[in-house]
């Protein structure tokens, strides 16, 4: 076991536990976007930055293992500034603000980021409505990788992939011909984990409207 403190609260965590797990044990909130407790930590969003005494730079809580004696601060000014700056960047890549019920909108609100000062390119609108139960709105994808990992690690269907690179990175199913022409089993794990509704389940009413 490692003994660490999170914002002054001492907690004991299992060997190999991450800072994020220690924060949860201490009941302290750390903002996350690409993290899903059902999946291996990914370390992509860089929103979970926290400070550790003696470390010159903030560290990502989801991929940094605890060391015995670590003093962790979840709201240190520099770390929090980086978290907010990243969320502001994410909001700037979407052509519309995220819906209030989405995880991204809730994290942004809790961090006090109400919009973005950045303008510039946004993701082009491209909505894949071919599947009866799943909708893929590419313009809302923030490349957090949660859907791809859900399909790989949780369902084992390997129907999804990241595509492109840099700002144009996105996701797709199979050979980009829609969910139905892929190994998708319509389990909905991707829609369940998506923090922006880029992949969402088509509700019953919408299904009726479509048919």
């Amino acid at each position: 076991m490692s003994r660490v403190t999170v914002d002054g609260t001492p907690v004991e965590v299992a060997p190999g536990a991450t800072i994020l797990e220690a924060a949860e044990a201490a009941d302290r909130w750390v903002p996350t976007v690409c993290f899903d407790e059902r999946q291996a930590p990914f370390g992509a969003c860089r929103v979970c930055m926290v400070s550790v005494a003696g470390s010159p730079k903030p560290v990502p809580a989801c991929t940094t293992p605890c060391r015995d004696g670590m003093e962790i601060r979840t709201e240190e000014a520099t770390a929090r500034r980086v978290s907010r700056a990243v969320v502001e960047l994410v909001l700037s890549e979407l052509p519309e603000p995220p819906a209030p019920h989405t995880e991204l909108a809730q994290v942004a609100a809790r961090l006090g980021v109400s919009g973005s000062r950045w303008s510039g390119a946004v993701h082009a609108r491209e909505d894949d409505l071919r599947h009866p139960y799943l909708t893929l709105r590419h313009e809302l994808c923030i490349s957090c990788g949660r859907c791809v990992r859900a399909c790989d690690e949780v369902q084992g269907a390997f129907a999804l992939t990241a595509t492109g690179r840099g700002f144009d990175a996105n996701i797709t199913a199979g050979l980009d011909a829609g969910f139905e022409d892929s190994t998708c089993v319509s389990c909905g794990a991707c829609a369940d984990t998506c923090p922006t509704d880029a992949i969402s389940e088509v509700g019953l009413v919408a299904q009726l409207e479509r048919s």
Binding site: V33, L89, F158
Partner: protein, 552 residues
């Protein structure tokens, strides 16, 4: 990196299946563009799921641009930018019948693409037609006329009393290690020699090796990082093409020290001569009993596979490099786990840069003390290869001791700038390195003195801007490179470099306060040294040339 996909790849590798990336490269080289049939075939043969193959096919530059019967690639690296600005792309596009980069003519006769960088920084601008690189004055016109010819590469030389890196390999280090030193003494010599990594990070090779030697694994691997993507650098190119046997010897020594039986060299597709040179050297070594089973009559087995990348700068980062070796998208993974623990196929792996490994044969043959004495004026051990861009009077690769001043390197070694031009600033060590203004040229070329002025040794390239250079254009050029090459994994780099580029590309003042907040988020938040490093030259420009950046 997906553990499930890595396990799938390991099982297919065990039965000698090619990777998805190799199959996709073969397909585009065969018929000029990728089809879904190619992707399905690659999935079936490599064992990778179709979706994952699709992801690979949309990641690498070489798989994206359609190819005509004549495929023209124009270098947009920093040396070519300094020499000719945006002209090479514009003139080639117009001369080839109005092609934009990424386009192929309607009759399929010719296609145009951008590439960064061809490693002919000594004689920019550089143009590659199929597998031949032409460079220097007239190269653009010759490419348009279909009269390209291979450019000459200047001979390298050493300032050391006895050259180490610029002389051919002799395999004396491996002979001594196998017959006299043994594994443990070899490892302790490399640790004592304090060989710092030459690829940018400067991490001690001996420490890395000791982690892998101690790591548990049924198999271990050595990977030589030959993805010298830094525009302006052509050092590893010379090492891979002119003394490839020294690199192979260094890899065999690493394998012997840590208990690995196989190595991979990942060389760049932008250097078409590297893979053939390495394969010829490996074949000669096998014939001489220096690679293969029971090397030199010992019980040590070691062999190598030469792999070519497909056009991605970030693949030079070690976790992305491993993904590329496995034929996956070349994206960065969070560490830990480090490659020393989970590398190729999830096994403990040494990842060293080409120049780092090329230093090892000397350490093995002559010992740590002799190696440490190569740079007598500083604590830093060994020698360093540096290279210069076309602005200089004598641009080439030179072996130098650490501790000379940058001015001595620029003026005495490379002969100052051509045609009496004066240095405005130099960028050292690639696009992630700081920019040193002429007023600081007396800084010593060494890890700590360069770090003190916001610069780094990096890969060792020294790229001069003369007094005609517009520093806002330089900032825009570097940020375009940064944004284009971002792997897209971490958010600060993926979005932030695009925003920073847009700031400098717009015909409007750059908001300094917001820019500095963005640089901080990149420096502190990025997953790897790409997003974390691009701010360094921007910081230099903000410090030394604020009036030229159009700030408000």
């Amino acid at each position: 990196m997906s553990r499930n996909l890595v396990e799938l790849i390991r099982r297919h590798h065990a039965v000698d299946a090619p990777t998805a990336l190799e199959l996709l490269k073969e397909a585009i080289e065969d018929h000029g563009e990728l089809t879904d049939a190619d992707r399905r075939h690659a999935a079936e043969v490599s064992g990778l799921p179709e979706a994952a193959v699709y992801g690979v096919s949309t990641f690498y530059d070489d798989l994206l641009a359609p190819r005509g019967r004549r495929h023209v690639r124009v270098c947009t690296g920093t040396a070519c930018f300094v020499a000719a600005g945006e002209r090479p792309v514009e003139e080639l596009g117009a001369g080839l019948g109005g092609l934009a980069p990424g386009e192929r003519s309607a009759d399929g006769s010719v296609s145009l693409a951008e590439t960064v960088c061809l490693g002919f920084c000594h004689s920019s601008p550089a143009v590659r037609v199929d597998d031949e690189v032409d460079a220097g004055p007239g190269a653009i016109e010759r490419a348009i006329a279909g009269e390209s010819r291979p450019a000459a590469e200047p001979a390298w030389s050493s300032l050391l009393p006895e050259p180490v890196l610029t002389r051919p390999g002799e395999w004396a280090g491996l002979r001594r290690a196998l017959t006299e030193l043994g594994r443990e003494r070899l490892l302790s010599e490399v640790e004592a020699a304090e060989v710092r990594g030459r690829g940018g990070a400067g991490f001690p090779a001996g420490v890395k090796w000791s982690f892998v030697a101690k790591a548990a694994g049924s198999e271990k691997f050595v990977v030589a990082n030959g993805d010298e993507g830094d525009p302006g650098s052509y050092i590893d190119k010379y090492l891979m093409e002119q003394t490839p046997e020294k690199l192979l010897e260094g890899m065999a020594l690493a394998g012997f020290a840590v208990g690995a039986g196989h190595g991979f060299v990942l060389c760049r597709s932008e250097y078409p001569a590297s893979k053939p040179a390495l394969e010829r050297a490996a074949a000669r070594a096998r014939e001489a009993g220096l690679l293969g089973a029971g090397i030199l009559g010992s019980d040590f087995d070691f062999d190598v596979t030469i792999i070519e990348g497909a056009g991605s700068y970030v693949v030079g980062e070690e976790t992305a490099l491993l993904a590329c070796v496995e034929g996956l998208r070349g994206t960065v993974s969070a560490r830990p786990p480090f490659p020393a623990e989970r590398g190729v196929y999830g096994m403990p792996t040494v990842v060293n840069n080409v120049e780092t490994l090329s230093n090892i044969p000397f350490v093995a043959a002559r010992g740590a003390d002799a190696y440490r004495a190569l740079s007598p004026d500083t604590e830093t051990a060994g020698s360093k290869l540096v290279c210069f861009n076309e602005r200089f009077a004598r641009p080439s690769v030179y072996e130098v001791p650490f501790g000379m001043t940058v001015r001595e390197l620029c003026e005495d070694v490379a002969g100052g700038l051509r045609d009496g031009a004066r240095i405005k600033a130099v960028q050292i060590g690639g696009p992630l390195g700081g920019i040193l203004p002429a007023s600081l040229l007396d800084t010593r070329f060494d890890f700590d003195p360069l770090a003190a002025v916001g610069c780094m040794v990096g890969h060792g390239s020294i790229l001069a801007f003369d007094e005609s250079a517009d520093m806002r254009d330089v900032a825009r050029h570097l940020l375009r490179f940064g944004a284009d090459e971002s792997c897209g994994k971490c958010f600060p780099c993926r979005i932030g470099l695009r925003r920073a580029y847009e700031e400098f590309a717009a015909d409007a003042p750059v908001q300094r306060g917001r820019l500095e907040e963005l640089l901080e988020a990149l420096e502190l938040g990025s997953l790897c040294a790409h997003g974390g490093g691009i701010p360094a030259p921007l910081r230099s420009l903000l410090t030394h040339f604020p009036d030229e950046l159009g700030l408000r």
